[in-house]
Structures are given as C-alpha cells and as structure tokens.
Amino acid sequence: MLNRRNFLKLGAVTATTTVAGGACLSTQAAKDLPQWGNKDFSPTTGKSRKAIPSACWQCVTRCANMGYVEDGRLVKIESNVNSIRTEGVMCAKGQGAVNHTYDPDRILYPMQRVGERGSDEWKRISWDEALDMIAARMKKNRDAGTPEKVVYHYGRAKASHSKTIGGFFKAYGTGSIGNHTALCEGGKWTAQELTWGGHYDNWDFDNTKFVLNFGSNVLETHTNHIPTAHRLLWAMAEKGVEMVTFDVRLSNTAAKSKEWVPIKSGTDGAVLAAMINVVMSEGLYKGDGEEFLKYTRVTEDVNADVPAKIAAIKAGVKDYTPKWAEKISGVPASKITALARKFATTKPAVLVSYRGLVAHYNGNEGERLAQLLCAVTGQIDKPGTRMKAVGAGWKWPKIPSAKKIKKLDIFDGFPGQVAYPTHHVAETVLPMIKDGRNGRPDMYIMYCWTPAYANGHIGEAIEILKDEKLMPFIVSVDPFYGDSTMYADLILPDTPFTERWTAEDMVDPAQIGEFYIRQPFTKPLGEARDFSDVVFDLAKRLGVDMGKAKSHEDFVRLACENTPGVKDAGGFEYMKKHGVWHDKNATPQQQVYNRPVPESVYKAKGVVLDKASGVYWKPASEADAKKGYVATKGAYKKYVAQQMPHGVFSGFAPDKVNKSGYLELWSPLLKAKGFNPFPTWIPIPEHQKMGPDDLVLTTFKHAAQTHSRTMNCKYLAEVYHNNPAWINPVTAKARGIYDGDRIKVTSEVGEIVTKARVTEAIIPGVVAISHHCGHWAYGRYASGRRAPSTDEERGDRDFKFKWWTENGVHPNWVIPNSPDPINGQQRWMDTVVQVTRV
C-alpha cells in the first residue's frame, strides 16, 4: 500500500489539476453544513421532528440520548451522537423507553387505598390531600423525636435526584434511607473499596489486547453497558482483540467470545487463585508485576520490600495449583495454565468480572483474587487494563442537613451478619422490619423501588408489606401500577424519566468525565409530578430548608451554573441545547497512585503517620491518633498519603473503609472481623452439602430488559417476555425432563412451576432462570393484568396486537435473601434447588 505522506504530497500538487474538468456538484449555495446527526423526520408529513437532548434512565448506565417530538408527542428515542461515553450507540432498552410515557397502565393521579391492602381498590385524591397526609406523619414523628421512623427506600436515585430527594429527608432529620445496591452489584463495590478504595472499575477496551472475563455478561447487560459494550465490540471486530469468558451459561457474551470456558457455579475464585499460582511459580510477575507490587500490600508488614511480597504471595497461593482448581471448577488444568500465561504476557490485558463472580457467598474473595491476579501481572490501573473509573464531578448546590439525624438500624443486615455493608444490605430490610428488634417504620416511602419483586423470598416480602402492624403506612412513588405499589396505602404518580430534569454523572470509559443532563421531552401527563419536585413542596409544608434551589429544574440549573467548565461553556442554556459537555483539553485519568506527595503535604500541621498502616492522616483528636487509623471510625476521610519503602505517594486513597493507600490485598479490616486477610478460596457452604438430586439455581439478564422496570414497555416485552429454565440435556434426562416440559423448581423458601429449555448452552448440575419476567402486576404488557381503573384501550391502539399470552415466572420466589458475609451482596447464584417434571 502506498505511503500516506505521499498521498498528501500529491494532494499538495494536484490543487490546480482539479479545475481541469467540469464539476458534478454545485456546493457554493450551502453556506454551512447542517449539524451532523440527531435529525429525524415524520414519515408521513416529511416534517422535521423536534430533537431534545436528554438522558436515559432505563438502567443505571444512564446514556445521553435524544428524544424526537412530533405534535407534542414523544415518538422516538435514539442516542446523542455527541456523547463521548456512548459515541452515538444506544441499546434496545433505551429506544423502548418511548413506551413508558404512554403506558396505558400509567398512574396519572394521586391514589388512596380504600380496600384491603392488595385488593386493588383505590380512590383518586388531590395532591394537596396526599401531601398533607405525608406531611402530617412527618410532623408527628418529628414532634415525637422519632424522625427515623420516616423511612425513605429507593431503588434508583442518582446524581441530582439523589441530592434533592435524599437531601430533603436528611434536612428533615431522618437517616433511614435504604437503597437496592446489594441486590445489584454492592459486593463488587465493597471488594473494590477494600482493595483500591474506589468502588467502580472501568475496563479500557479502547486500548486492550486481550480480555479475560469472569462472569460478566458485558455485551448484554452491565451497569455501564453501552459505553463499555460497544467499545468491546469494536475492539473485537476492528482490532481482533480476543475475549475468553468463564460462565456456567453460554451467554451472548460468551457466545461472542473467542472461547467460552464452562465453569461450575461459584468456583471462579478457585480458577483465579490457580492462575495466580501459575504466574508466581513461572516467574510471570517479573517486570510489570514486580513494579506494581511496590504499591501493593500483601503482608502484615507495611514496609515489606518486593522480594518479601513475592515470597508472601507464593506462600499464599502455593496450594492453589491448576490441578487442584480443576477438581473444584471442572476447568482443565491445562486451560487454566494457558490462560494464566496468556493474561500475564499479553500487554495490556484487561480482567473483567461481575455478578457471575461476585453474587456468591465467596464473591468478595473472588473479586479480591481478581485484583491480586491483576496486581501480580501489572495489568491494572493503566491503559488497556482495569482502571479506577472516572465520572463527572458536578458542584452541587447545598441542601443543609438537619443538626441531628436519626436512623433505624435496619439497612445493614442482622447484627453480626455482614462485616462491611458499605452499600447496605437491601435484601434484609423487610426481614428486619418483620423481626422488629431494631425498630419499625411509621411511614415507609418507596421510590422507584419494588421490594416485593426485587428481593428474594417474594412470599415473605408480600406478607410483610400486607401486614399493617409491621408497616403502618406505605407510600409508593411510582409512574406505574406495579408489583409493590399495589400494596401501598398512598400512591404518588411519579413522572417517567422522559418527563424529568436531572444533572447526570455516570462513569466515562474514555476516563475523562462527561457532564450531561436529562430534560423533559414532554410535559407530564395527567397530574404526574417528579418526586424530586414534590420534595420541595413537602419541605415548604414542614419548614425544611432546601437551600437556594426552588425546584429540581432550578437545582439542575444551579449545578450547571456552579460547575467549572460547564459554566464556561454556557451553563444551563448550553446543556439544554447540547445535552452533554466534556473538557476537550482533558487527558484520560490514569495512574494516580504512584504520584509522589510533597513533604509540605504529609508533614503539614495536624498530619501524623500511623505506623501500623503507613498512612499519613489527620486525626480529629489526640484520642483518635492514639486509637490509630484503622480502628478510628471514619478515619478514611482524613487520609492524606501512604508511606512506602520507596517514598510517600498519593496511593490508592480509601473511600468508604479505613484501608491503607496500598492496593490492599492483606486486609487488617478483614482480619479484625475474623476473615483471612490474604485473598483466599472459600467454598460455598451449601454447595458442599448437595445431594444427588440437588441443582444450583443461577440467574441472568437479557439484553432487552432491565431487572424489574422495563417489562411494561411493549416493544421490549414483545422481544422478551418469557423465561423458561435452562437445563442441560444430561441433567434433564436424569429427571425425565424434555424440552418444553413443565417443571417444578423447589428450594427451602418456596417453589415455582415453569417450563424447561433443554440446552447444551448450560453446564450440567445447574438450572438458570432469568430475571425480568413473572410480574403479577405492572400492567397489561408485563403481566397481562391491567392496572385498576384503566380500560381496555386507554390511549393504546397497539394493545390489540399483543400476541403473547405467557409472561414467564420470577425466580425470586425460590431464592432466599442471603447476603455475602463480608459485603452484603445478595447471593443470586447460590441457591440449591430440586427440579422435577410436573
């Protein structure tokens, strides 16, 4: 092929040649080119549709998007082509969100229950009546000195929504705020916090040469799905990057990989441990690994040198041979060895891990082993590897908290159950309310939260929600009539995200940070109101100070005007016009840990060295200094720098726990709670006691649905609405089960009847059932059941075209609420079940 430089030289001398002939095109009349991308036209009239930049909220990825409005109706959603996160790519879920706005089972007015809980009998009330009712309960509890009995439990509230709604409840005086993170990815986050401080990792597919995947269905579903998945696809398609995926199931991610490595459920940690063994025994740590170990803690001695660290790791993994791991995982020893070598020697390579690794009893240790493999190979926190994530840093308007905040201790598991629930233990909130020893709410406000559907042990959850003695007053803030909303006493009609404002901040795989906003495509239907606006009204009724902002839109405006960069680009007006902004002069963030800290910082007044951890910190008192960094509550907030044998460095700063500034893989925090401080293989207790008839139930997600919030979207329900249980032919035959048979799946907490999908795309000994399906409410498309007080056709001509009659079965009926003992992650992949033909 010709040299490009020579083409350009040709270009320089051919300027006069081009006038030789007559031109085909006339271009002078077009002064400026139209803006590229994000244009849409009515297919019937040809008229240009109004394009409004905004942001998705179908899943936590929250991609920047573009809504098209024609004659006041939202008709289409696509991606915002100017987003550096998505680069103009969007998933089916995001496009299907257009169905939320006009869901015929949407709630458009405040509703008060008039019959028994769950009886579907409601009367419409005014917003004033509804808010008076809530304010009266809040006043009563504040006057009684029990603001903590007002419990706000959300499933999804991020960025400015979290700031305004959470800010309101803290300003009122309750810290009884629950979330859903442990049901999703909390275990991954805590394990990362224990090791490198930040809770989220980014996989740099733009620069990698090899992807080693332990249990992430990254191409179908991920908490930063499209921004990472499209980069991975490009790396694979354009650059020939290979991915190897360990999974019990041939997910679409595994299917697109160079190789799917089937593995027994919950044994990924054993394979990781054996890979570390290979790296250490074959000296593959030499070079990059040795260099990185300077910043890694693997021994009690924080001043250990690299040879001592290597010796400690070798000792720690000496029994984890590939042959040992083969017996546990079913993965051939030769495969483990070959992949360990490949990962260690392909530079750079990225190690990917998610719920297939972490949603187990041993998930925390699995993730720590993953971090250790990255550390000993030096495949960490640099381009092409797993890196600490970067998001947008908005400068939020302040909402002053109450002087005293009280909270019910019901969010972090039963006493002694979970060691470091840094993202709470959502799955035990209802059981703890039932238990009652740590108090119960007087008012339980659910915001984008469906505890009956999202938790395990659904039967118990429904009983608790129905019991007025346990839950005297339940408020559901929801745009739709759903599986939990049906048990509320009061429903506030929330807006779907297509009618909201938000300033958004999700992680940017370009490692720069993208600022973006959500703005309404259309005005709210009926009397629906965004709850983040409603809290400003409640604040007025209660005399609660919400700071400068007067509404959520105002809060977003102030964030745009306060945040450097966004402000300089044109602030709120710029963001409304473009939707996204990033600093074009910024370089991707990487390798902050090895930045030397000047003496003036770590020897500043008030900064002391904690010798046990090597951490320079600023204790609040003499007593704290004496107690030491690790033992002082919240000491991580006072971290300054890390002393290492070769200097003082910024290190991997802590974020939620009192870890040192090393990549901490010998954890005094875990030791203090009775766990092995060094990453360790831990078998899953229930799996060690399985009988010949027992199987492991594992769960998964589909690309066209989020866990529980999208089945009401008709486009998406049409794509995926039924979830037969995957079962291997060998396992099925032993039970007399054939493809399509009705089967019963039984566990210690319940049973479900579903259909069998007999397939070799899953290993023997496991049965896999997806989430998303089996709604008992959530509207006609999700469950076949209309919301109360809605008619057959209400504004939806498409309903007559609904051709499917089955809505699948939800596996959570048979999955107990059972947290990882270290971090509280709900163990979605561990349940032991029996499967029989019906």
């Binding site: 270009g11 040649t17 002939g21």
Partner: protein, 222 residues
C-alpha cells in the same frame, strides 16, 4: 489525546486541504476522458515526481508520445472501461453492491438524498447518474475542504461536523463499493494509467478511513 492546539490545527488544516485536492484529482480522473490541459498537468515535472514518490510511474508512451495520439488512446481506454457500448465497468455505486446490480438502484437515491441533505445540488451540466464515482469523490473533496477551513479558523466543532459526514459517507458508500470497482479496473485496464489511478484510489480511501476517525477524535477532544 487533547483538543487541537493552534499549531496542530494548522497541520490538520493543511492535511484536510491536501486530502480535498486529492479527492478532486481522482474525481477528475474518473469523470471524463483526459483533456489536453490535464495531460499537460500530468506531464509537469512536479506532478510526475510526486506520482513517482507515491509509487506511480507513468508510462513513457503517455509522457512522450504525440499529444493527440496519447489523448486518443486514453479516450478509447476510458470509453471501453467506463462507458461502453458492450461490456464495461459502470462507475456507479448501485451496480457494484452485492444486493444491487441495477443502474439507478436504491443506493443511487441514498446518495442523492445525502447530497441534497447537505444543501448541495447536482450541477446543471452534469448528465450522469447521482451515484457516479466522481460525484462521490467530489462530495468528499468539498467536505474535506470545509473541514480545512474550520481547522484554519480554530473551529473544532465545525471540523468535527464535516468529519462526521465524511465518516458516514465513507462507511455507507465509498468503502462499500469503490474497492470492488477499482479492482475490476485493475484487472481489465489495458493502459497502466487507469490501473495506477485505481490502485491510488483504493489505497487513498483505505488510508482515509482510518485517518478520518483520528481527526474526529482530535476534533472532539477524545
């Protein structure tokens, strides 16, 4: 990478203008028979040397033969290759796509829509079909020229906008059929001139496919 500094902006402006010129040159090659003026240009020492540097050595006969004879040979070759009658290589996109095969197919309409959506028009004197290779190359020339102007003015958003159109048109049209078209020319052409021009076209487009994305990244500050 960071956003373009003023010095790199100058370099990018120069690149875009050179790219634009080369698209224009190739558009002229395929648009019609070589004219007297064009032949004189080809014979100029500067262009000859640059072509040689680019690995293209023009035939002695083309360089030294009598003008009218050379022009006639080139015209006969151009007609046989691109016009017919009889078997020839139609220089229109819709003919060369696997799903196509017809003149004035769906792709022809797509190209015309693309051109019109940008506010451009087909010249009144142009009598060919809307997806002629010279139309497509001229369109890219104009987009690269506008990109160059944007870089000169420090308008990175404008450069990114023009590049986005180049990227889209390259992916949706040129890259889909021109390599096939050029490979047929290289197989059949009797005179080395059209073989060389076909090779130059393919290599240049291949190089531009990558470089457009590089320039977009710079313009967008990615």
């Amino acid at each position: 990478m960071t956003a373009a500094s003023s010095s790199s902006s100058n370099g990018l402006a120069r690149t875009a203008i050179e790219v634009s010129n080369l698209y224009g040159f190739l558009a002229a090659v395929f648009r019609e028979e070589v004219s007297e003026h064009f032949l004189a240009q080809l014979r100029s020492p500067e262009l000859r040397q640059t072509l040689t540097d680019a690995g293209i050595t023009l035939d002695d006969s083309l360089l030294r033969g009598p003008d009218q004879e050379v022009l006639r040979d080139l015209a006969v070759e151009f007609t046989a290759l691109f016009l017919g009658p009889g078997e020839h290589i139609s220089p229109h996109e819709s003919v060369h796509l696997p799903q196509g095969g017809n003149l004035w197919g769906a792709e022809t309409v797509m190209v015309r829509k693309f051109v019109n959506a940008l506010g451009f028009k087909y010249a009144e004197e142009f009598s060919g079909m809307p997806d002629h290779i010279s139309v497509e190359l001229e369109l890219m020339a104009e987009l690269a020229r506008r990109e160059g102007v944007a870089w000169e003015q420090g308008d990175t958003d404008g450069a990114a906008n023009s590049l986005s159109y180049q990227s889209q048109f390259m992916a949706e049209h040129l890259a889909k059929w021109v390599p096939t078209f050029c490979s047929k020319v290289m197989d059949i052409a009797g005179l080395s001139f059209y073989r060389d021009m076909a090779r130059l076209t393919v290599d240049f487009l291949e190089s531009e496919r990558t470089d457009i994305e590089r320039r977009i990244d710079i313009a967008k500050g990615v």
